[in-house]
C-alpha cells in the first residue's frame, strides 16, 4: 500500500522522461504554443482589418453598415481568441474538467449580470418619466452647467473665440490616421441615423437632444475647413448634401 503511495509521492525524483503523463502535468510542446500564438496574432490582424475594412466600405460605397456587424464581428473574433488562450495557454484542454466547469459557470454569472442589469433599459421611464431621459454628467443633469459645457466655456473665456476656433480646427480634424484611420465621417454615429437617448422604442423621451435623422447625410473630411459654429448639444448634426 505504501509502496503505491510512494510512487506518487516521490514526485521530484522521476527522470525527466515520464513526468508528463504520470501526474497529469501535461507538457504542451512549443510547436503547439507557437501555432496558437500565430493564430492569435492572425485573429488580431483580422479584427483590426475587419474594422478598417468596414470603414473603407462605408467611405467608398457611401453606405451605412448596421452597427451590429461591427460589434458581432469583433466579439466573435475576441471569443475565438479567448477560447484559444484558455484551451492551450491556460491548458484547460488538458486539465481536470472541473476548472473548465468553474469558468463556464463564471461566464453564466457574467451573462446573468449583464442581462439583469439591462432588463429595464427600455422601460426606465414607465414610472418616473425623467428616468428615461439622458443624464448629462455635471450641473443639474439636464445639460446646463455640465462638465462638458463648463470646460468649453472655461477655454472660450481663456483663449477668446478666435483662438478657440483655431485650436479646435487643429485638434478636431486629427482623425486622419488617428482614431480609426478614417476621417471625420468614419463612424456609424455620424454616418448613420444618430440615435440619442435610450436606443429602441423610446424616441419620445429623447428630449432636447433629438434631431431629425434625415439631416445626417454624409459629410467628409472637407468640413474641417468650414467654421464650426454648431451648438455642442447637437453632436453630429450637420447639414446634408456635402456631396
Amino acid at each position: 500500500m505504501s509502496a503505491s503511495v510512494a510512487s506518487h509521492d516521490t514526485h521530484g525524483s522521476h527522470g525527466s522522461g515520464d513526468h508528463g503523463h504520470s501526474h497529469g502535468h501535461v507538457i504542451v510542446p512549443p510547436i503547439t504554443l507557437g501555432t496558437i500564438l500565430g493564430l492569435l496574432l492572425f485573429f488580431t490582424l483580422l479584427t483590426v482589418g475587419v474594422a478598417q475594412l468596414e470603414v473603407w466600405i462605408m467611405d467608398y460605397f457611401n453606405i451605412v453598415l448596421p452597427g451590429w456587424i461591427n460589434i458581432v464581428g469583433a466579439m466573435i473574433i475576441a471569443t475565438v481568441k479567448c477560447v484559444l488562450v484558455m484551451a492551450f495557454f491556460m491548458q484547460l484542454r488538458y486539465d481536470n474538467p472541473i476548472n473548465t466547469i468553474v469558468m463556464l459557470f463564471t461566464i453564466l454569472c457574467v451573462a446573468l449580470f449583464l442581462v439583469f442589469t439591462s432588463l429595464d433599459l427600455l422601460t426606465r421611464d414607465r414610472v418616473y418619466a425623467d428616468k428615461g431621459k439622458q443624464v448629462i454628467p455635471g450641473g443639474s443633469g439636464d445639460g446646463t452647467n455640465s462638465f462638458a459645457t463648463i470646460a468649453k466655456k472655461k477655454y472660450e473665456d481663456k483663449w477668446g473665440a478666435e483662438k478657440f476656433a483655431a485650436i479646435k480646427s487643429v485638434i478636431k480634424h486629427d482623425s486622419h490616421g488617428h482614431g480609426h484611420g478614417g476621417h471625420e465621417a468614419s463612424n456609424t454615429a455620424s454616418r448613420s441615423r444618430t440615435v440619442t437617448g435610450l436606443t429602441g422604442a423610446l424616441s419620445t423621451s429623447v428630449g432636447a437632444h433629438g434631431h431629425d435623422a434625415k439631416h445626417d447625410g454624409k459629410h467628409d473630411g472637407h468640413d474641417h475647413a468650414k467654421p464650426e459654429a454648431k451648438p455642442e448639444s447637437k453632436p453630429e448634426a450637420k447639414p446634408a448634401g456635402a456631396h
Binding site: 508528463g20 463564471t106 454628467p137 482623425s175
Partner: protein
Amino acid sequence: MSTYPTQSSGQPGGQSGGAAADARPLWARYKFGHHFRNSHDEFEASKFGFWLFLSTEVLLFAGIFCAYALFRAMYPEAWAEGSKALDWKVGTINTVVLLVSSFTMAYAIYCFQTDKQERARRMLVITFFAGLTFLLVKFGFEYMPKWSGYFFSFDPALSKYTANIVPEQAKLGGLIQFVEGYGGKRPGKMFDYPFASSPQMPIWWAVYYSGTVIHASHVVIGMALIARAWWRARKGHYGPGHYTFVEITGLYWHLVDLVWIFLFPLLYLIH
C-alpha cells in the same frame, strides 16, 4: 490502508534538504504540504483554487463590461466619439505585446517542465519586459497625452498638432511637448476637454479609465509574480517535479491577456 504518506517518505512540508549530502536541486527536494495526499493533489488543488480566484477576477471585470454595454446602449454618440479618440495602432501594438508575452509565459512553463533552466529564466525575463512595454506604451502614448496634453516629442501622433504646440511649456529639454487643447480627456468631474461633441464624454472616459487602469494594475501584479518566479528560479526552486508557482503565475498572466483581448476591440475598434 492509509493513503497518507508514511514516515519513510520524508517529512512533508517545505524543503527537506537538510542533509548536506543531498545534491539534488531544490525542486527535486520539494515535499508537498502535509495536508495533501501527494504532490499531484497539491498541484491540482492549487490550480483549482486559482481558477476559483480567476472566476472572481472575471466578475470584477464583468462590472466594467456591464457599464460599457449599458452606457453604450444609452449614449452611442459618446461611445463613437470616444473610440475615435483612441488610436487603434497603439491598441494593436499593445495587443501583440501581450499575446507574445502570453506565449513566452507558456513557453517558460514548458522549459521548467523539461528542465531547461536557463531558457526558462530568459522567457520569464522577456515576459516581464513585455509587461513593462505594455505599461510604458499605455502611459506614455495614451494616458499622459489624453489626461494632460503633454506628448513625448517622439510620439508620431504629435505631428498632427504641431500648430498647437506651446514651446514655453515643453519639459525635460523638449522631450515632453505640450499641445494646447488636446488634454483634459478625463473621467467625471475632472473632465477638462473643451471640444467634446457629446455631453456624455465624461462617462466614456470614466469607463475607459476604470477598465484600463484596473487592467494595468493587474499587469503590475502579474509582473511582480513573474519577478518572484524568476528570483526563485535562479535558486533552483522550479523544475520538472515542482513548478506550481510558475503555473499559477502563468494562469494569472493569461487572464490579464484575456481581459485585454476583450477590452481592445470594445474600446478601440467598435465605433
